[in-house]
Every structure is written in structure tokens, then in C-alpha cells.
Symmetry: C2
Subunit: 280 residues, 2 copies
Amino acid sequence: MSRIGIVGLGLIGGSLGLDLRAQGHEILGIARRRTTCDRALERGIADWAGTELNRLSNVEILFLCTPIAAILPTLEQVRPHLHPDTLVTDVASVKAPIVTAATPLWPYFLGGHPMAGTEQQGVEAAQTHLFQNAPYVLTPTATTPPELTIILTSLIQQLQAQRYCCAPEAHDRAVASISHLPVIISASLIASCQQSLDAETQALAQALASSGFRDTSRVGGGNPELGVMMARYNRAALQAALDSYRESLAALSDQIEQEDWDALTAALQQTQAARPPFVE
Amino acid sequence: MSRIGIVGLGLIGGSLGLDLRAQGHEILGIARRRTTCDRALERGIADWAGTELNRLSNVEILFLCTPIAAILPTLEQVRPHLHPDTLVTDVASVKAPIVTAATPLWPYFLGGHPMAGTEQQGVEAAQTHLFQNAPYVLTPTATTPPELTIILTSLIQQLQAQRYCCAPEAHDRAVASISHLPVIISASLIASCQQSLDAETQALAQALASSGFRDTSRVGGGNPELGVMMARYNRAALQAALDSYRESLAALSDQIEQEDWDALTAALQQTQAARPPFVE
């Protein structure tokens, strides 16, 4: 059993606390607001919870679970209080910028991304078994001490999550394609329907829209701050994904313009065949 | 009560037969295959079913429910057998090309599009209440006799469908935007993920893909023949929708490239606000 610190007691940090504490680990929780700490204690998220960073001096493992913009500033703040052997990890949804900046600050840093979540946020949203069967990606680099991966893999197994290991850049390319790109192409669908149709046809389109539009537009109609955050922190990978996407779209558009129905049939047969490995 | 002919006894034609016959109308069904006719009779879809077009000589209303490519050839074939007062309508998912070509052949023609369906096809897929609460669009033109709209509106009410009336071109623009465009942009997402990622990153992307990718890629991974058929018959409206979409996508891409996060936030706030009228 380990002594584990968690900074940020929201959905992810709080859920980690619930499950890891249930496994017998001692959980020290840190939040900026005293009310959050009190609620975390009431909910059984932590054995101790408070605002004082110096209480982290004897933790063996530290999870940084703040919003992505606060990960690096938080690491700077907690660094003077930590024992040099403390394993530090984070839960941000973008890895290369975090790992590149965090590693010089703390050599015992290993980036992580538990890919679970709900629409809710905050300490009240924390729940048990949030990570069960969900992917949990670790992103070691050439300089990451191998024991960090072993230690975190053991915790991930206790969460019953599915562990994946890859370079931070590969993680960012993969999530740009399957998570961040869909937000932009889905938002463009809504924008285009709103901007290109006259008022009467738009009202008709709204009345006639069904599951095809609903599904394709869902992530583009989601939380704007989350979308901007993804684009901001994963900009390079997202731009590359957008460039590739715009080429694929241009190819299909050209087939339609040229009425090359054989080519369009072949292309749609290929996308039909290519989808199952992503969704099964 | 009317004597109603239905040519094509698949999902749509068969379901129309079931519900209209239950309302007390006399249904004469036409199919190319004798086995389909027998099955339609067994299932209670029609009072009489056969392959002989001359049996349509005394129907008052005729529904053309063949695949879209067969609508106009079928109208040419049945025309010599019909009484000149017969109201002819169709159920094709694209209206302007059909209405434009059908009206000179049959002045008592009124285009229609019941927007209901399932993944299944054929006479076995026919079901009662398929059209309940679903949109049913009628597309009269300046030359359509007004009584045709009145007569079909009455039948649509009996199906408990929601009737909409608009010009054929407005229908095609609306469905291009909310139904046909999503297929192409969704297929482009799959194509791009398949083509732009190296094998290792693609395998990772497949493992990490979750509901965002699943929903955004769904219609692009569907029946290729259906996608090509939509593009083929609604090409002009789909091209216009694609042009507008590519402009919207370019605008968001530029904001990301220029790191104009205020503009991207405003754009995503707008798409978040614009989506509910389409899906509620």
C-alpha cells in the first residue's frame, strides 16, 4: 500500500481517490477551496484533505488532476515540498507539451491520460469504478525511469482500466484524430447549416433533421471551453489532422463533382470496412 | 375510403399498405416478383397483389415506392393503364429531379417524401406505424392542382405522420444539409484516420476511440450504395452544401492556425447554441 497525493479533487481526482482508497492506499487530497476538501472527506475520497502543499512531503506517488492549464504551474508550486523519490504523474488529455515541460522540472515524472469522464465536473461528480474498462494511456519517454511505468501500471490494474503505453507525440496524434478532429468537423456542420440556408429552408432542415444529423453534430454542439482547450494544447497535432481531413474531404467532393460514381462507391465501401476496428 | 395502388412492396410501400388498409382503404399492390406479392397478401399489406399493371386502371391514388432509380421508368410503364384522374405520388428521398421529370408525364403528380425507415429492406421489413410522428414532406409546384395536396394531407394524417409542404428544391437543399452532407463529412473522417496515421498510431487510435468518434463516423460507415444514390440524385444541392461546409471548416481551421482562441470560443459557443433546434 502506498501513500498517494492527489492535487485537484474534481471528477478525475476525486474518482481516483475513491477507487485507490478502496484498494487500501492512504490518500492525501489537496484542493484550493476548503469546502471542496470538506466534501472530499465526507464522500470518502481521501483520508486527509486540505489546502496546505507541505502535507505532500511524504507521499510516494502524486497525481496532478487540475485542469490542463494548471498542471505545470501546480508542479512548480508543489516541487519544493516533495521528497525527490516521489513519482509524479498527471491526467491531462494532451501529453507532449506537458511531458516536455514537466520532465526537466521533475525527472520522476510520467505522463498519463485516463480516458474516462462524464458531462459532470467537480467533487460531487466523482464516482467509483469510473476507470473500469476505460483506456488509461501512459507516455514514457527515452529518459523516463522504467520503474515509474511499472508502479503506475500496478495502480491502473487496481482501477481495472486498460493500460496503453506510447510516446507522448503518438498519443497526441491519435487523440487529435479520434477525439479533437471530430469536434471541429462536427462544429463546422452546424455552422454551415446555420450560415448557408435561408430562414425558411433552415426551419425546414430543423424539422427534418434526424439521427444522422444528431449523431454527426453531437460533439460540435458540446462545451465550447473544452473544444478550445483541446485545440489550444494539441494545436500542432490537430492542425495535421485537419490538413489530412480536408484532403480526404476534397477527394470525395471531387468524385461527386465529376460524377465518378464508381470511385465514390469504392471510397464509401472502404470507409464502411474501415470503421468497425475503431468502434468495436 | 379510396382505392389505392402501391407499386413496390418493400419497407416503405409495404408499411404504407399495412397502415392505409387498416384505415379501411382498398389496397392494390404491384411487385415485380410473384413471391413478394404472395408474402404481401399473407402479411395483410394489400387486398390484392400481383404483377399486372393493368389492374391499376381504377385506382384513385397511386404510390410509387420503388427504389429511386426506378420511379420515372415505372411511371412511364404504368401511365397507359391509369385513369386520367388518378393522383400519382412517390416516396423518393430527392424531389426536384423526380418532380421536374414526372410532372410533364402526369399532371396529377405530387412528390412526397416520408422520412421514416429502418436498416432493413424488403417486404418482410414492412411494419405498422412506421410513419407515426415522422415527417412526411409534400413538394407541390406552381402548377400542381391544389386538391392533390388536400387529398394526400388527409392520408398523411391517417398515418399520424407530420406533414410539411415546400418547393422540391427547398426539400433537396434541406436534406442535402442535414442528411446527405453528414454522410460525406463523416466518411471523410474515417478515410482521413485510415490514410494519415502510421500503422502503430492507427492501432492506438482504434483502441482509444470512444463515443465522439463513434457518433461522428456512424453515417460515413453506412451502406455505400445508399450514400452514392443520395449523391447521385441530389448532386447539385449536395455540392452547394459541401462548398458551404468547406468554407465553415476553413474558417475554424484558420482560427486554430492563427491561435485566435477568442474567435474559436465565439464560434463554438455559436454552434452549441445553434444545435438544439435541429435535434429537439
